[in-house]
Subunit: 222 residues, 2 copies
Amino acid sequence: MINFEKLFYLCPGSNKSIMKKDPKDLSTEEKIKAAARKIFTQKGYSATRTRDIAEEAGINLALLNYYFRSKEKLFDLVMLENFGQFISGVRALFNEKDTTLQQKIETVVDFYITQLKTNPDLPLFVLTEIRSNPKKLQAKGFSKDLLAQSYFLKQLSEELKKQKKAIHPLHFIMNLFAMTIFPFISAPLIKTMGVGDLEFSNLMEERRKLLPIWIMKLIQEP
Amino acid sequence: MINFEKLFYLCPGSNKSIMKKDPKDLSTEEKIKAAARKIFTQKGYSATRTRDIAEEAGINLALLNYYFRSKEKLFDLVMLENFGQFISGVRALFNEKDTTLQQKIETVVDFYITQLKTNPDLPLFVLTEIRSNPKKLQAKGFSKDLLAQSYFLKQLSEELKKQKKAIHPLHFIMNLFAMTIFPFISAPLIKTMGVGDLEFSNLMEERRKLLPIWIMKLIQEP
DNA sequence: GTCTATAACCTGATAGAC
DNA sequence: GTCTATCAGGTTATAGAC
């Protein structure tokens, strides 16, 4: 077993990164940020009105500007934290030296499924905002060597070489994230086809165990 | 080989469903619709200003309301066409009686990869709008029996039974669409990691061949 | 720090001339 | 059918009292 818990604490804005507090104990600033986070993530930048955030936070509209100056500044803050929560936790994991490839895959699947069960709106938010503003990625220090220099990629490449597979390792990384994240993104569609909330949740629990097996099988078998 | 081309013609709004015309030959109404389609799909409902659509169409703002009465009416039109393009084509395919499971999977992969190469913004648009307005789905006649009653599901279930796998068939359908669509959704992220446009395109071509093999392997092997 | 009131701006929609 | 000019409504941001 590896340091699974650690991932959560690495995520800025994670539920687990702050001690749980009674909403009444949060400072006004924190209340606004929490409300903004919730509504921005759900509806995106343009569809969110600062009035809604103020109401959700239980404070006055003017206070929002008092603390954060503008809607955009507040958004940038939330956006960076959401993005961090979505991806930064993986950075540390990718460079663990003392875990196998399979263990890393198990951890990624486990981490995201847990994360997305409580925060299903995150991927659509992150992907939409990245598309409409790719610059802010690099500002966050996100660059090509996050993956390229990672120990994870090294392990994966070696495994592929061992199997004599001349397939780009990126294919398997895409498969990993696709199979893990996509079901949550398309949940509204899946639920339209007669899958209830409980059944959906159960399916995701099954995937927690199935995905690592499947992904390893694609990597290892001829 | 099956009727692959047919799928395109079943898609309202598909590039292939209209003869290609010089933009100058399009009627004003068509020009507005095309512009609206482009900008709505790229930026979503709220972030789109009717002024932008008018400019893109090369006409005046007032004309937009003259032809379509309101922003929302225009959007609904585009939304239904986009949604149709994204999913309706599959309906017919799912009920072909004379193709094998594997052939259907090959066709779905082929269809979506071709579709998404020219229209990569479609999935994020469709998924975002479905989440914020699930009702419009049923209005379009989309219901649980699209999949539940399909011949595709029947074939898949039988194959699983033959392999004595007690795994919900939905898992494999999720895998199919996830592995096909997700790479396009996350393209901006992938390109940040040093993958150029050409390399990305090549990777997708490789997936056209690899995905059916992988998906069948997961279904068939123990 | 927090509120009310209001300024400044933006956006969708329409009136009316051509 | 197409345009210019403008209205009506809503949104962000600020001024100023407490």
